[in-house]
């Protein structure tokens, strides 16, 4: 993936052009003020250079109006940057509902990527052109950061929780993938590539390769392997609530609060089951901390998610 010498990065996502536009606005503001200051200093430096040791320049009193002018104009220019930057930022956190969900798990020093259809990749991420993609990310150890310069996107991957990121690629090709948060010895080797493919080509890629069991199928196997199904069944005296149709809906807890069943809640319930016990059940579930990996949790989550749609059918 030798790109050759460049002075400006490629634009390969819907966001990239927008970020660059804002960037150029900031560059313009910066160049204007830098040149203004340098020019004035140069001008005064030459024009008012000391001609004799005993000359005494006239005193110029401070000028409130001038102070206000050069406070308020920069303030307004920066407020434009603030509003513009904030709008883009919030947009980039609002994936549409049809986004393709891909899971990412960081580990010293590699990226493990899991597609919903079951494909797994190490340090490579294949995505289709022109379709919104949402990444749900976590890490097994320290903080990493998932960074794709050509998409102008970066998000830290934090242990103990999920972070998300969303993009839509606009140009086929291969792009750098970096870890941007220092994570130990081989931090600079925790790199890879993002491959953007035409949708047909992407489908092709999906159907090739090995082990193409969909994620929820792998998840279902894990669900049985850990014997989750012995308690979480739809029977009157089951020790745990049935998980059919729960995903994406609120559930009542024992203390009367409600919590939304999402990836974060499922993850917490697997690792720290008694933190938020559903109403009507005893806090008897053992923790699976140390037994199930972050990838395994994602697979089980995918299975539970699939139960939600099954239930509604």
């Amino acid at each position: 993936m030798d790109k050759g010498f460049q002075l400006f990065p490629e634009q390969a996502s819907t966001l990239a052009g927008q970020v660059d536009a804002l960037y150029f606005y900031l560059v313009a503001v910066s160049v204007f003020f830098s040149i203004l200051i340098f020019f004035l200093i140069y001008l005064f430096a030459v024009k008012y250079r000391r001609r004799s040791e005993d000359e005494v320049p006239k005193e110029i009193p401070g000028l409130l109006k001038l102070e206000l002018v050069w406070s308020i104009i920069p303030l307004m220019l920066t407020m434009v940057a603030f509003a513009w930057g904030a709008t883009l930022y919030f947009d980039s956190y609002n994936p549409p509902d049809n986004a393709l969900e891909i899971y990412v798990v960081g580990k010293q020093w590699m990226w493990h990527i899991q597609h919903p259809t079951g494909q797994r990749e190490i340090n490579e991420l294949h995505v289709p052109l022109g379709q919104p993609v949402k990444l749900t990310m976590t890490t097994e150890d320290v903080i990493h950061s998932f960074y794709i310069p050509a998409f102008r996107l970066k998000k830290d991957v934090v242990p103990g929780r999920y972070t998300t990121m969303f993009f839509e690629a606009t140009k086929p090709g291969e792009y750098h993938l970096f870890c941007a948060e220092y994570c130990g010895t081989k931090h600079s080797k925790m790199i890879g590539k993002v491959v953007v493919q035409e949708p047909a080509e992407y489908q092709n890629w999906l159907s090739g390769g090995t082990s193409n069991e969909p994620l929820e199928v792998i998840g279902e196997k894990k669900f049985q392997q850990f014997a989750c199904h012995t308690c979480h069944v739809d029977k009157p005296n089951a020790r745990g609530p049935s998980l059919v149709g729960v995903y994406g809906k609120p559930v009542r807890l024992q203390d009367g609060r409600s919590v939304l069943v999402d990836e974060e809640y499922i993850r917490e319930s697997i690792l720290n089951p008694n933190a938020k016990t559903a109403a009507g059940y005893k806090p008897v579930m053992p923790t699976f901390k140390g037994q199930v990996s972050e990838v395994g949790i994602l697979q089980i989550t995918a299975y539970i998610k699939s139960l939600a749609t099954d239930g509604s059918n």
Binding site: D255, N272, N274, A275, P283
Partner: protein, 214 residues
């Protein structure tokens, strides 16, 4: 030089300026202490909002009686400290020594009770770190509470030990006759420090011992 007070340092104009400077300096130092403990209180607040049940559970493992007795002991020591400063202002050397000694004694009682509490906790494997075991729900989060308990009270106890050291110094100097009704700034400054340590405990007591008791 050793046995004589040099009341006014060379760079001050008068005692008033010297006292005002010391007083402002001490208050500034206490402000840094507020933020030093503030870091711990921030961590406490974050985790208490995140794991309320575990914090209530953790708190119930602490001994309210010992905590309350210790609060009273510390308040007594603040009183004796205030009286030591009072007699320093009046210039009564013997009373200064008496009340400073009482303050030290009360501080020692506090630390003794603290040590008893610590040994109880250690006995039940409620300790900050890898030896921690707790049979019950939320054991990881209770562990975080216990870590806060030890870190916060430990840091507080460390400040008390420093305070006791300072008071021993004051007693030595007071016996040498350094302090008079004109010059008693060091006594007053150590007093400020000791009262501050008391205030930290005034917050630690309800935040650690008294949550979720009902």
């Amino acid at each position: 030089m050793a046995s004589q007070p040099h009341t006014l340092q060379h760079h001050f104009e008068d005692l008033e300026q010297q006292f005002e400077s010391s007083s402002l300096g001490m208050w500034t130092f206490l402000v840094t202490e507020i933020l030093f403990f503030g870091g711990l209180f921030t961590g406490y607040l974050v985790y208490r909002t995140r794991f309320p049940e575990a914090f209530h559970l953790g708190s119930s493992l602490l001994d309210v009686q010992l905590g309350a007795v210790n609060t009273a002991v510390l308040i007594c020591s603040s009183l004796t400290m205030a009286l030591a400063v009072y007699w320093a202002q009046k210039g009564d050397k013997n009373k200064i020594v008496l009340f400073l000694s009482l303050t030290i004694a009360l501080g020692a009682v506090f630390l003794g009770i603290k040590a008893v509490e610590y040994s109880h906790k250690f006995h039940h494997h409620l300790l900050p770190g890898n030896g921690f075991t707790f049979e019950g729900p939320f054991s990881d989060q209770v562990r975080i509470f216990i870590s806060f308990y030890f870190t916060m009270t430990g840091m507080h106890a460390f400040h008390m030990i420093i305070g006791i050291g300072l008071m021993i110094y004051l007693i030595v100097r007071a016996r040498q006759g350094w302090y008079s009704s004109e010059y008693n700034t060091p006594v007053e400054m150590v007093g400020l420090y000791w009262h501050f340590v008391d205030i930290v405990w005034i917050y630690l007591f309800p935040l650690l011992y008294l949550i979720g008791r009902h």
